[in-house]
Amino acid sequence: MANFEFRLPDIGEGVSEGEIVEWLVAVGDVVAEDDPMVEVMTDKATVTIGAPRAGTIHDLRFGVGAVALVGQVIVVIDQDGTAEPVEAKSPEGKKDEGPAATAVGDIKDGLPGSNYFESGANGGAKGGSGGPAPAKAPKAASSASASRPIDFFQAKPLATPATRKLARDLGVDLRRVAPSGPSGRTTRDDVRGFAEGAPTAPHPSPAASTRPAAPIAVDDASRETRTPFVGIRRKIAQRMQTTKNTAAHFTFVEECHCDPLMALRGRLKPAAEEAGVKLSYLPFIVKAVVGALKKHPVLNTALDESSNELVYRNYFHIGIAAATPAGLMVPVVRDADQRSILDIAREIDRLGEGARAGTLSADELSGSTFTITSLGRQGGLFATPILNHPEVGILGVHQMKEKPVVRDGQIVIGNVMLLSLSFDHRIVDGHVGAAFAYDIIRYLEEPDRLFLEMV
């Protein structure tokens, strides 16, 4: 038992696969138990997995960028330095003594591969007592997966055999050609156009949605740098594409007058600081959203397309989109309806730091029922946020600005914040979305109302 085979565990709730982002060890390295070994990226988070056993790294079964299924062996650790080959050894069976009548078709020796059928391995044959146990099924083709080349774009381009041949003949790497054909196929014309340097077709078809977008054509390779499109970035791309191709987005923009909210925050800020919390507007917005969601439960649903059911979530997990060095992440404030504003503020701080440091667990990065995205200082006039699949609504919050506003027939300076909300029109009708938006605005323009509904 020198070799320990480490299988990719389920590192999130129901994660089925993980992408190897980086190996922190190499074959031959000596590792202590729990030494950082590999970074694995699931569709929920990138996690560092430590060595489950002390020993010497014997085999790395997946290359960087490759995707391993949960349960597949990703690394083999030689625990005591006596690594032996992985193939199963079959103990030598006893040979039959002397000749015996052989019926036609009576195969006396086991058939190759018959050891796959463990229980029946000895059935019928004489074998005798205590015959050797059948060898276990051979290990999965390890060398094949270990030597799997890094495929930056993972998915293979779709093309007919004839087009593939044309691409080979013209020296065109099909993965670099943007497809324009039906079902996301790269067509013969695409290949010819690419080879002739013509602009590549611009529009991937809808059905190509689940595939990552094709890379752009090379113009001057010497002045270009290519980096692996892996990890969070690729996950983001895939999720965005999925969302865009399933939900019927529509966006609603309205302004919100924030002077009362500013005043309220100003009054509460010192108290919050005493509690060690830096109070931003975001916790109020979270509360406003929760209040509006309670009035419009359809905005807190998700569409289960596999069963054609609309799932009403009777809990309020609010995703807070956060820009991180690795890319966009959406940590989740769970049960926001049951938390105080102070509590929410604290949680947002904690999650934001964790997201930037990359230390959040998969659970902390998944499960939101509605998402808020702070568009910040460079949020522009308005935006068209993309839903966080499978949610049906998202709120984009723009920076609060001083603007001329008309109040009681006078133009005065007021603090105005624009809200850009996107909805899934399959589920949310226009007037419902609008009503939801105005409820949020009302909470924010009259923040006292939040106290009326405080639990």
């Binding site: 009548a101 052989t102 036609v104 009576d106």
Partner: protein, 377 residues
């Protein structure tokens, strides 16, 4: 169409006169009424052919038990009906075998070495190792090719006989099958076609009582197998199949009549399969040893030997010497057969058609270029 010696056609429980022709009496003397009165040298020749067949049979079973050949399907106890009928066929006549008649093939002069090469499926095997052992062929000896499915040779025999007559050739076709085959489509169709076409066919039913494990009583509700000819307008004849002289006589008479235009005959040869169905079979699972012992007492070789010794034409010393002679020849053939290579790989693709079409050329190239199996049996 009746013949004077045939007794059947119908035998019922009320009328159990079995009408079975026999010649050799238990004391070795011959029934003068049925004795074909063959020259002594012919009688000795018939006897030796049976002994030779049995020596070979016995040795082949041994080889199979040692794992040196894969299979043998023998004729232990049935030598008289096989050799007697084969000897009764004229040189120009055809023999369509079942699969128990290697003795008949050898009787026709087929080389023993060629037979052993077939048993080993080696490069010199006439059929190039394409069939199991005992699936021989011998066109030069007017002997058909052995097929495993039951009864298929019966309708073919009718076609051969019809063709021979159409070509104006004086040739009769004999076709062997066990009593089990009388249940097959081909038996009924073949007899019916032959009856309608008046084809010169001698249907030789070896009633050896067992079709693998099924006794003859379970094969038919008819009292005899010979009477099955009646429905097709074919005379049915019964003969003591453990009496080589009786078999010779009955078959020869039918051949002559058939050649003269009398059409087909069905001959039921009563015998007993002393061994298993083949080396793959152990008959102790389904029949009692007493029955076997009872039939051993009517052993065709012993009966003939009693007759010959009574005539002073044979004795123990000559018997031993002859067996020794056969064994020596046989062992030389075995050694030679074992030392011959397997058929060349490419021969697998020959004779599917007269010429290899493109797809077989392609597959043959793939075979020759490809990997070889890990085990060679």
């Amino acid at each position: 169409m009746q013949t004077e010696h045939q007794v059947v056609p119908i035998r019922t429980p009320d009328n159990d006169s079995d009408g079975v022709t026999s010649v050799i009496r238990p004391d070795g003397s011959l029934n003068p009424e049925t004795d074909p009165k063959l020259p002594l040298e012919t009688v000795l020749d018939l006897y030796r052919s049976m002994v030779r067949t049995r020596v070979i049979d016995t040795q082949l079973v041994r080889l199979q038990r040692q794992g040196r050949i894969g299979f043998h399907i023998g004729s232990l106890g049935e030598e008289a009906c096989i050799l007697g009928s084969a000897a009764a066929m004229r040189p120009n006549d055809w023999i369509m075998p079942c699969y128990r008649e290697f003795g008949a093939l050898l009787y026709r002069g087929f080389p023993l070495q060629a037979y052993l090469d077939n048993m080993y499926g080696n490069a010199d095997d006439i059929v190039m190792g394409r069939q199991m052992p005992d699936h021989y062929t011998g066109k030069a000896y007017r002997f058909g090719s052995v097929s495993s499915p039951i009864g298929t040779q019966i309708t073919q025999a009718v076609g051969i006989a019809w063709a021979a007559r159409y070509k104006g050739n004086d040739e009769v076709v004999s076709v062997y099958f066990g009593e089990g085959a009388t249940s097959s489509n081909e038996f009924h169709t073949g007899l019916n076609f032959a009856g309608v076409m008046k084809a010169p066919v001698i249907f030789l039913c070896r009633n050896n009582r067992w079709a693998i494990s099924v006794p003859s009583e379970k094969q038919t509700a008819s009292v005899t197998f010979a009477e099955k000819g009646v429905a097709y307008g074919i005379p049915g004849v019964r003969v003591d199949g453990n009496d080589i002289l009786a078999t010779w006589k009955v078959v020869r008479e039918c051949v002559e009549k058939s050649a003269a235009g009398a059409g087909p005959f069905l001959i039921e040869m009563l015998t007993y399969r002393v061994g298993g169905h083949s080396t793959s079979d152990d008959p102790r699972a389904y029949r009692v040893q007493d029955e076997v012992e009872q039939w051993r007492r009517t052993d065709p070789i012993q009966r003939m030997r009693t007759h010959l010794e009574g005539r002073g034409a044979w004795d123990e010393a000559r018997d031993e010497a002859y067996k020794q002679e056969v064994e020596t020849e046989l062992k030389a053939c075995i050694t030679a057969a074992e030392n011959k290579p397997k058929p060349e790989l490419g021969t697998m693709f020959d004779d599917v058609f007269q010429h290899r079409p493109w797809h077989l050329e392609e597959q043959c190239e793939a075979l020759l270029a490809g990997p070889r199996p890990k085990s060679e049996h």
